[in-house]
Symmetry: C2
Subunit: 242 residues, 2 copies
């Protein structure tokens, strides 16, 4: 079968291309890599991104980003795929020694995933229920991407201390504490004041992180991110009953 021609046509048509094959992969760009011969799945999507999957693991072993230019040629009896992404200065070469199958198809999919339980949902919840942080906590604003930095929730307490809240949807770690510390220091410097409280809001915290948090005079609030997709309660119920 003329796999090379089939792949070329699909590339021109903007189809999704799924290849099962024994192949080796060479990559050069942000780093360099070589993957010796073995059976893999190679997918070229309609946005010209490319992923190579081994038979184990959720992450692709090699990949090229959207907007890559693909060129099919033949090297003796092997098919050669050269992929180039000028913007990223990245190059890839896949040499197929045995193709098991090639499937090409137009894919109709204009829907986006609906996700619940992110850090943003957490800060939304805190804005609506400031008591989660403290009885006297008064949120002022959700300062995302402003001149004060990327602070999740920003407010003050009854003693007129400024309060910086950093949310983490999972376990708080050393990184989260240093991040909070950076924000508090930035606010202190910008405002020229010293009474700024720092609060880390997350469902759990590591012992080391808690120690560093307390050493720096910051506070921990045990808060869970909201995770229920209200629009799909029926489905959720079904999943819970597994």
């Amino acid at each position: 079968m003329d796999y090379a021609g089939k792949i070329k046509n699909a590339l021109d048509a903007g189809d999704v291309i799924i290849i099962g094959a024994d192949c080796e992969v060479t990559y050069s760009g942000r780093a360099e890599s070589f993957l010796p011969s073995g059976d893999r799945i190679v997918i070229i999507k309609s946005d010209k991104s490319l992923i190579v999957h081994q038979p184990k693991g959720t992450a692709p072993v090699n990949y090229m980003k959207q907007g890559t230019v693909h060129e099919i040629s033949e090297n003796g009896k092997n098919i050669l795929l050269k992929a180039r992404n000028s913007a990223m200065k990245e190059f890839m070469e896949i040499e197929f020694s045995k193709i098991h199958f090639v499937h090409c198809q137009k894919f109709e999919d204009d829907r986006e995933i609906e996700l619940q339980g992110t850090e943003k949902h957490m800060s939304d919840m805190i804005m609506k229920n400031p008591g989660l942080i403290g009885n006297d906590f008064r949120p002022l604003s959700r300062e995302e991407h402003t001149k004060y930095g990327f602070i999740d929730v920003f407010g003050h307490d009854k003693d007129n201390n400024l309060v910086v809240v950093e949310c983490k949807r999972f376990n708080g770690d050393l990184n989260a504490v240093t991040q909070l510390r950076r924000y508090v220091e930035k606010i202190k410097a910008l405002k020229g004041i010293k009474n700024v409280r720092g609060i880390l809001a997350c469902p759990a915290i590591s012992a080391n992180a808690l120690k560093m948090l307390e050493d720096w005079g910051f506070e921990y609030r045990k808060i869970e991110p909201p995770k229920h997709l209200e629009r799909h309660k029926k489905n959720q119920k079904a999943l819970d009953e597994f």
Copy 2:
């Protein structure tokens, strides 16, 4: 065609399963999500990990980790896949309204990718060429995962200052600076001394990060990670000549 039976057999055999189908996906675990109906690629690998890909982008839209248990059933004329990962407390349900194709196959692949140009390669290079940090820099040891913490390169200068080097294979950012700062403070506390220098080694650094670095009295060294796979120079040359 009996797609349900085909998938069940492949699951038992440990084959890789590739499905092209119109489907909707419900997920509940670390977060919750719902993906309305559309054409996707669903892959179940031999380690029972699962990925769902839309026709665009390199990252999967939904996934389950290795060791997931899969159960195929039929819901009227639709095929239902229930996936459960007890260890991760994660659940997924995929309802296939139209299956375009199912491909099952045993994959032979025992090779691992060879990668060059990582942060570890950078610190190796600095250990061999300490002059990259300074004429008087003397590396003592590569202290990874020891009592001193996760420090890339550790040494001293002719004035007997301890020197902590943090390597980044790409642009240095605020996070890299705060990380270096944490290490320097840890060494100071552990040793009870004050003369500890901090050096950030990376190919480039953001303006904000450089300012923070200098505010804290640390230093920047412009160093590129080594990126040549010596064993595959021939291939690399071919890629360069694209």
